[in-house]
């Protein structure tokens, strides 16, 4: 009875985690893989794996948020995805990024092209720099969370993000 009760509570907590971070995991998967179809697969696999290890993760998290753990699972699965299928992330994303409203048609087209160049530039970065930028800008994670997701120190993560932005600036300027 107690076991069944705790199982029900665990499932409920997992549902909360799922609802709270579905968009984060999906966004990460989408920017990492580059298309909706595979991003859906990766998101599903991430949550299935998370479900299998949820109890232990909760125990070991010591009350810390589980988002970095989830993103780390997605990160590892995405690495396997590219390794297994010998694919590189598609730099041309299926959908254009969200653009600010209140612009003329020409501005919108120009803005869209500029953002697409930027996303392509992110895709061309070394893996760790690209992942750090996706976590920071698509998911809004802070240095501590990114550090936990990437298994690095906070200091190293700060340097990683700084270098990624500098490299991206350089790439965009050259284009």
């Amino acid at each position: 009875m107690t076991e069944a009760k705790s199982k029900a509570r665990l499932d409920e907590e997992f549902s909360d985690l799922y609802r709270a971070h579905l968009r984060d995991v999906y966004s990460y998967a989408y920017y990492r893989i580059g298309n909706h179809h595979d991003a859906e697969d990766l998101t599903e696999q991430t949550f299935l794996q998370a479900y299998r290890h949820f109890e232990r993760a909760q125990r070991e998290s010591d009350g810390r948020p589980l988002r970095p753990w989830l993103i780390r699972i997605a990160h590892n699965l995405a690495a396997n995805y590219h390794r297994d299928r010998s694919r590189r992330p598609q730099t041309q994303l299926e959908d254009a990024a969200v653009l600010p409203s209140g612009r003329g048609t020409e501005d919108v087209a120009e803005g869209r092209a500029e953002l697409e160049r930027l996303v392509a530039g992110v895709g061309a970065l070394p893996d760790d720099r690209r992942d750090a930028l996706i976590m920071r800008f698509a998911l809004g994670m802070d240095n501590r969370e990114i550090a936990r997701a990437l298994g690095r120190s906070e200091g190293a993560t700060k340097v990683l993000i700084h270098r990624a932005i500098r490299q991206l600036e350089q790439t965009v300027k050259e284009d």
């Binding site: 859906e40 599903e44 930027l118 932005i165």
Partner: protein
């Protein structure tokens, strides 16, 4: 915040997952948990049909039997020892007062004999 950082926020805007993803995930989860339960039940049945899996229960029965026999032997020996001890004690209890009585009769008789002999 630099210009590139501001543009990155726009370029990497969060992406809404399709509504069907949750249904798909729930189905996958149900299938997995269902499959796990079926597999476990199936495995138990299969395991009992396979003679190789009888070794463990058989070993447990033999081990349990041996332990039972050992326990029985130990108990019997203990009982035997106890019985032996109590029989000896009883024998002593019967013999000692007789000796005592014999001694108490013999000793004054000897003393009297010695005195008369003098």
């Amino acid at each position: 915040m630099s210009d590139v950082e501001q543009r990155l926020r726009l370029a990497l805007a969060p992406v809404e997952p399709p509504g069907t993803l949750t249904d798909r995930f729930e189905r996958a989860l149900t299938e997995i948990t269902g499959a796990a339960v079926d597999e476990l039940a199936d495995w138990e049945l299969r395991a009992m049909r396979d003679p190789r899996n009888w070794i463990r229960p058989a070993a447990a029965v033999v081990g349990g039997g041996l332990a039972g026999v050992t326990l029985l032997i130990v108990r019997t020996q203990l009982q035997r020892r106890r019985r032996g001890r109590s029989a000896r004690a009883l024998d002593r209890a019967v013999r000692d007062p007789a000796r005592q009585v014999g001694r108490s009769v013999r000793d004054p008789a000897r003393q009297l004999g010695r005195r008369l002999g003098r």
